[in-house]
Symmetry: C2
Subunit: 210 residues, 2 copies
């Protein structure tokens, strides 16, 4: 989530460029929010961990909300990037790969993702818009894959695709809290449920595999 | 959502019992939050509409958060009550009735429901817990219907049921913002998608209709 190509410097008090300092603060803020949740994140603790004063922190990020918005946006951007489909695969394989990457990402970031996505809504309308727009973009990837396979995405199918994103998100978030199935079994469960839920004809299912 | 059996008195300044006044304030607060959203709701405006002073308002509800929590809880309680299944119907008919009532409720309360459910998360962890517990209860109704039809609700089916609730909610909220399908078509779409998504055998589907 850092825009610099150099490794982020450690927690030293030394001089840093403005970009490096911002990147370091965002890394530390991400760690903190993953540990404590968006609600539990405090700017005092962030300044302490970065070894800088509160006024200096507010020089980089005027409000706590600015930091939260940047961290949540970057995390969600990373997730959306994970599930961006590879156009060289068939739509079915895009779906399998997207689900695998989504579930792997959620598992890897565990409480962090949960806390960021659920907690994002906690803060303000800007954050809710970020989360909502990520769902819209993921639904868009899905709809694009269908359209590329020659399947007309009408109003009904468009609603089902949008619902499918919420379905996967809700299940992944519950699964990560209490993983009674293995990751591959979960991906399989999701893939089969989605392919059954969407009203594809046998010819359309055929088109989706090629 | 009022606990009194008398009609709620109008916006008079006259003396009211404590319960009647609280009920009136909650009715007005619900109207206001439906108009403006949870974020746009102000206690000043509520006191003005009720024709009482701010200190008197805070005598009934010590904080703005108390009012929001009561309004959102009552609204969501009403919704959960709407979809409580009638055990005299077959599971399939329970599903159809539950979906019809849910969609009708969301349509009737339109921006209100949207604003309350999405905005609920805006305020604090208590509100998120209320929304989350309503999803758990609705998923529980669904799982109970399946169990009553002799279908074993294992870990995988339990995840699918939970996802199904999010699926319906997401679709209903999008539909109400841009209703390109009629209400009955939507209910049909949802019912068919759910019945297909859940991995029922032909025998189980048979059991669900009786």
């Amino acid at each position: 989530m850092s825009s610099i190509t150099e490794p982020v410097p450690g927690r030293t008090r030394g001089r840093m460029t403005r970009d490096a300092r911002r990147a370091q603060l965002l890394e530390l803020a991400t760690e903190l929010m993953i540990e404590r949740g968006v609600d539990g994140f405090s700017t005092n603790e962030l300044a302490r961990r970065a070894g800088i004063s509160n006024p200096l922190l507010f020089h980089y990020f005027p409000t706590r909300g600015d930091i939260v918005l940047e961290v949540v946006s970057a995390t969600i951007e990373e997730l959306v990037e994970q599930v961006r489909p590879n156009p060289e695969l068939s739509p079915i394989d895009q779906l399998t790969e997207g689900l695998t990457r989504y579930v792997t990402y959620v598992e890897r970031t565990r409480n962090g993702y949960l806390s960021l996505v659920r907690g994002a809504a906690a803060a303000d309308a800007d954050l809710r818009a970020v989360v909502d727009s990520s769902r819209t973009r993921i639904a868009g990837y899905f709809a694009d894959s269908l359209a590329a396979a020659g399947i007309e995405v009408d109003a009904a199918l468009s609603l089902l695709v949008r619902g499918a994103v919420a379905f996967v998100e809700e299940i992944a978030l519950h699964w990560v809290e209490s993983p009674q199935l293995g990751r591959e079994d979960l991906v399989d469960l999701l893939r089969q449920a989605l392919l059954r839920a969407l009203p594809f004809s046998p010819e359309q299912l055929e088109a989706l595999t090629s």
